[in-house]
């Protein structure tokens, strides 16, 4: 037998890697996301959420039943997000119910609605992590993006309240045409307070397919240049480029954990493989999570990349975030690709040291990208 150790306290990374490797082939839904609402008090220009007032959000009781079922199925990491989840008057009740189920909870919020009362409660029952999106280092840029006067001050006050209580906070931003010149300033400010900061420039269309967020999307050149201007990202990409891996030969369309070990539940009770994928939809008001999960895993696992799938055999896979979700949101077709993502991967490869991006996978070469940019 294995000897009993005095409650071994594993480092988080080792623990996470260990348990993820054990659930990998067992279709255990260890990573889950629940969107409590798609409503938001901000009106960010790049946001993909689309609140539909004609749809009925899950009730507290329905959410509790779902939380019971996903805990039973093996979910450990749970992301609570929105919209803005704090807009729900029963947010604390839902949070506490989830907390008592033993999930490791990450909370996404814009911090503008946090109150001392909410945070006092979270201090007693801390989340695993709170992640706040900040959209600019200055009021002018922040509010140009959020479209709400006074939201910058509310966000800053919220962040201060969270910090005062020493809750586990991370900051992040979506880098876009309106704020990319302030990203380094946001990072400096955040890291100066000892808070981890990250940014991402890959904007996708709204969940309805509307491409409004692209009005403020960075070009592939600017997105890659921004990564290159950040030492941490630069080092990370260079490291990735030192160890390229070959594309999978199993022909599966889904190469991530979506519908295998991870899932997404929208505010109306629909289970899906991820937040971007609005096909493969299962109504949890009509089915138990377990029934829906088994059916979804089965449907996702048999999806094969078609013969003409542009990513098939592409040697840039290791540096690209292409997936059926991106194809679906950009083109309404899970078998299509995001051309923008493809261009970014190609440029990343060239800039960060993975050599020529000319590959079998139908990716455009640098000349084509530059030509597109000039058009």
């Amino acid at each position: 037998m294995e000897r009993v150790h005095s409650v071994p306290q594993e480092t988080y990374t080792a623990f996470s890697n260990s348990i993820h490797s054990k659930v990998l082939e067992k279709n255990i839904p260890i990573d889950g996301t629940i969107e409590l609402t798609q409503r938001c008090n901000l009106k960010c220009v790049q946001c993909y959420c689309c609140h539909d007032p004609s749809k009925r959000e899950l009730s507290y009781d329905e959410i509790c039943r779902i939380l019971d079922e996903i805990a039973e199925a093996g979910c450990l990491w749970l992301l609570i997000t929105g919209g803005e989840p704090l807009l729900r008057p029963d947010f604390l009740d839902i949070y506490m119910y989830a907390k008592k189920k033993g999930f490791l909870i990450t909370l996404f919020t814009n911090a503008t609605l946090v109150t001392p009362e909410i945070l006092d409660h979270l201090s007693k029952y801390p989340p695993f992590s709170i992640e706040v999106s900040v959209y600019g280092a200055t009021k002018e840029i922040y509010e140009k993006i959020t479209g709400v006067t006074g939201s910058f001050e509310s966000c800053m006050a919220g962040i201060k309240l969270i910090l005062d209580r020493k809750l586990p906070l991370k900051l992040k931003t979506m880098a876009m045409a309106l704020n990319h010149h302030e990203v380094s300033q946001m990072k400096e400010w955040s890291e100066g307070m000892g808070i981890e900061f990250r940014f991402d420039a890959m904007l996708h269309p709204k969940l309805t397919g509307l491409k409004d967020p692209w009005d403020v999307r960075l070009s592939p050149e600017d997105a890659v240049a921004l990564d290159g201007s950040d030492q941490k990202k630069l080092d990370a990409w260079r490291e990735v480029c030192k160890h390229p891996w070959e594309p999978s030969q199993n022909g599966r369309l889904f190469t991530c954990g979506a519908g295998k070990n991870s899932f997404h539940i929208d505010p109306y009770g629909y289970l899906r493989p991820c937040d971007m994928m609005r096909t493969f939809s299962y109504d949890l008001r009509k089915h138990s999570f377990r029934e829906a999960w088994v059916e979804m895993c089965s449907a996702v696992s048999v999806e094969k990349a078609p013969g003409d799938y542009k990513c098939r055999g592409c040697k840039m896979t290791f540096i690209c975030n292409q997936c059926p979700g991106w194809g679906f949101l950009e083109n309404g077709d899970i078998y299509s690709i995001s051309e923008n993502m493809c261009d970014v991967a190609q440029l990343r490869a060239r800039k960060f040291g993975a050599g020529s991006g000319n590959t079998k996978g139908g990716m455009s070469n640098e000349e084509e990208i530059l030509s597109k940019a000039q058009r």
């Binding site: 037998m1 000897r3 409650v7 348990i19 260890i30």
Partner: protein, 93 residues
């Protein structure tokens, strides 16, 4: 070895893919920065601690169910219970 222990309501036990995990949920319960991973025997001991069974009874069950000598089982049990008590995961009834 005749003590009886109860579990703290502020620690949640999860069994996922044959992994046993203790998740403290309240700030003053144990070390909130930690997640505790237990091995199979630890998981079984946790299941057996119920506020009624004595450590003698738990010891007997462990010695019966696992391939271990009574001395090893006793040492393991004592160490494990001590650690759980130190982290606030259990308390003597």
């Amino acid at each position: 070895m005749t003590k009886v222990y109860s579990k703290s309501p502020d620690v949640v036990f999860r069994k996922i893919a044959d992994e046993f995990v203790l998740v403290p949920i309240r700030k003053n319960a144990a070390d909130l920065e930690s997640i505790y991973a237990l091995n199979e025997v630890g998981g079984r001991i946790w299941e057996l601690i119920d506020g009624h069974r004595t450590t003698v009874e738990i010891h007997k069950t462990i010695a019966d169910e696992f391939d271990v000598t009574p001395d090893e089982a006793e040492e393991d049990l004592q160490n494990f219970v001590k650690s759980l008590a130190e982290t606030g995961s259990i308390k003597e009834s």
